[in-house]
């Protein structure tokens, strides 16, 4: 699986040839540096580690500095490992190489986007788990419009099952959105425009996979 690390810029829309408006997200993807290449002989599996986004040297631990020095690059904020980086990149992938968005994706490809969703705070079951709430506003019902209802039997099982859907913290999860179409790539600016929305706020890290 090949991929790249990027940053969400924001959303806009474009029109296709038939005049249909497509909502799309602009992502600044790469350039990423190969910081480690794992092999079956040394690590037991094949993978490629990419790093993205400059980080101040003084904020980097000695151990990490050593790691980046091996690839002859400056410290980076985001380090992500991609397993089974596509065979076609086998030649290009070497320690310290730079990988750009145009080398990995083409227009009309389908990609998956991974990000951390926006935090929603403590939310009730209606918003968090799409419960319907109590059906009626009237007929004597007065204060349980968005309540979860029963959470289990009183005499049997006489306990609440583990994993029962309840109110709680929502958002801030790692979310993967599948099969987003690549609308446009601007290699000079390291930009990629993909259809649909992507989890997270603006400037949050997005991992694109193919």
């Amino acid at each position: 699986m090949s991929g790249i690390i990027g940053r969400k810029i924001g959303m806009t829309n474009v029109f296709d040839e038939e005049g249909i408006s497509i909502a799309c997200t602009l992502i600044e993807a790469g350039p990423c540096v190969v910081t480690q290449v794992k092999d079956v002989e040394t690590d037991g599996y094949k993978s490629v580690q990419l790093a993205y986004d400059e980080k101040k040297e003084k904020r980097t631990s000695k151990a990490l500095k050593g790691h980046f020095n091996k690839a002859k690059t400056s410290p980076k904020k985001q380090v992500v490992e991609f397993r089974n980086f596509r065979e076609e990149f086998e030649g290009q992938v070497a320690l310290g190489n730079t990988i750009k968005v145009g080398e990995i994706f083409k227009e009309n490809d389908y990609v998956d986007a991974i990000g951390i969703s926006k935090g929603k705070g403590f939310q009730g079951v209606v918003k968090r788990h799409h419960f319907k709430g109590v059906g009626d506003k009237t007929h004597g019902q007065h204060n349980r419009l968005r309540a979860p209802g029963s959470i289990g039997g009183a005499s049997y099982p006489a306990r609440v099952f583990k994993g029962m859907k309840m109110a709680g913290r929502m958002g801030g999860d790692r979310v993967k959105v599948l099969n987003l179409k690549v609308i446009k790539i601007i290699p000079e600016e390291d930009l990629i425009l993909i259809s649909g929305s992507v989890p997270g706020s603006k400037n949050s890290t997005i991992i694109l996979e193919k």
């Binding site: 810029i9 924001g10 806009t12 474009v14 029109f15 005049g19 408006s21 602009l26 600016e189 603006k202």
Partner: protein, 118 residues
């Protein structure tokens, strides 16, 4: 807005310049491309602009209302859609609101809009 997003939207900025400036209360004639099988023809839709929505974004739309055979018809067009061939400004209207929903409840004389004189 981010400079990088403008990079994507700039190709549509040219299309935007092509059209005359119009706003709610104006009467315009929209030439819409319609595909029928392999043939393409142009249909015109003339009426009063009720509003412009999501202004100065790529998703900008405008609503045009006309009364045809005593039936009010409103169409919403995306401003930057490639299916819009031409927009003609027929008449400038003088109105005090940005959104003329009050026209929906009016007919005949009551639905008139004063012409804007320069």
């Amino acid at each position: 807005m981010s400079e990088l997003i403008k990079l994507i939207e700039q190709e549509y900025a040219e299309i935007r310049k092509k059209y005359p400036s119009f706003k709610a209360g104006d009467t315009i004639n929209v030439h819409v491309k319609i595909k029928e099988g392999n043939k393409e023809r142009i249909q015109q839709f003339q009426g009063t602009v009720l509003r412009r929505n999501n202004k100065s974004t790529n998703g900008e739309t405008f609503t045009v209302r006309k009364v045809s055979n005593d039936i009010g018809i409103e169409r919403i067009f995306p401003l930057l859609s490639p299916n819009i061939a031409k927009i003609e400004l027929i008449r400038k209207g003088s109105v005090r609101r940005a959104r003329l929903y009050y026209l929906r409840g009016r007919q005949g004389k009551a639905a008139r809009i004063k012409e804007k004189l320069k």
